[in-house]
Symmetry: C2
Subunit: 196 residues, 2 copies
């Protein structure tokens, strides 16, 4: 097990409906030291790639992605989930369904902050059905940017999102891939990534 | 002018309706180096305070507050804006009106992550009418935590929020206080903080 899998086993709580609660360190309370370790691991996994911008989606992605942006020495752009009066009319838009919140959101990025030819690394905390990630990829490609990779903290490997993204040929790195979890026993089965 | 005021003058855009757009470096695209500089400045302004937790509110507060948490070597907790199926029933709640989005949100923090006697530093990007900050203070005090201070990146000094919080006796530090801005000329007038 890697450092993240160990933390998930120690503090994650499996709830019914395939919900994994990691709110003690990842998406409500955030362990800053762990965030930095995650960022260094993404830097290692995407070593050699030239990245000019990190792209994520609010809210919990921001706390991870900003440390990744720091590792690469580039700005972070976070997509917003609803039209705000502070956003100009000129923006890239994707429609995203949330597994957690059971609703649809318009996800938007201002055209001022994503440009043709930029090398984008997309970062998010969770990958399940993949809608959020697909939305971010769609936005990056609408801008004419190159998606150099997608870095996910926790992938629910028993849902379709990761397979779709990999089948499409994207370089997807998930620091922990959960192949099964059981709310009765609390057991979490991780995919072995050593053999990759 | 301090480093932040200089950046606001350089890149901020004054829109009608007292809207200041700083989305090129603060709340859509984030300049990581500036975020770290902001965090170090908060550490300096709250020097000598014992802080055990940094509290902010999603979304754009997170990217600043996580660097502040790193400066103090403590965890970050970010309040969430709507009830999620991933949040347990046991939580602190405050009602918050958004100046930007013109709507009301329930702001929630799990009781697992704020405890009696904790020393909390509240961080947010903007202070205008003060509703978000009042909500965070209310949540911290509901938990029996001690609000050691509030750190704001940009305060709209011509709105009531800052005065209310200071009148209530809280130690509020705003890195830039805007006393006036004019969308016709684009002029921004900062409050002189040197004389404090």
């Amino acid at each position: 097990m890697n450092f993240l899998e160990e933390r998930i086993v120690k503090e994650g709580i499996v709830k019914s409906g395939n919900v994994l609660k990691v709110d003690s360190f990842l998406n409500h309370q955030m362990d800053v030291i762990l965030m930095e370790e995650i960022a260094r691991e993404f830097k290692r996994r995407f070593a050699g790639k030239i990245i000019s911008k990190v792209l994520t989606i609010e809210a919990s992605g921001i706390g991870i992605a900003i440390f990744v942006a720091r590792e690469f020495g580039v700005p972070l752009v976070f997509a917003k989930k609803s039209k705000s009066i502070n956003i100009d009319g000129d923006m890239f838009v994707a429609e995203v369904e949330s597994f957690t919140h059971k609703n649809k959101n318009q996800v938007i990025v201002s055209k001022k902050f994503l440009h043709e030819g930029e090398h984008v690394l997309i970062i998010d905390d969770f990958l399940a059905n993949g809608c959020a990630l697909q939305g971010l990829i769609s936005i990056a490609e609408s801008a004419g940017a190159i998606v150099e990779g997608c870095g996910i903290v926790i992938e629910k490997g028993f849902q379709i999102g990761g397979r779709v993204i990999r089948n499409l040929g994207y370089h997807l790195e998930s620091l922990a891939i959960i192949d099964a979890m059981d709310s009765e026993s609390g057991t979490i089965t991780f995919r072995d990534q050593e053999e990759k």
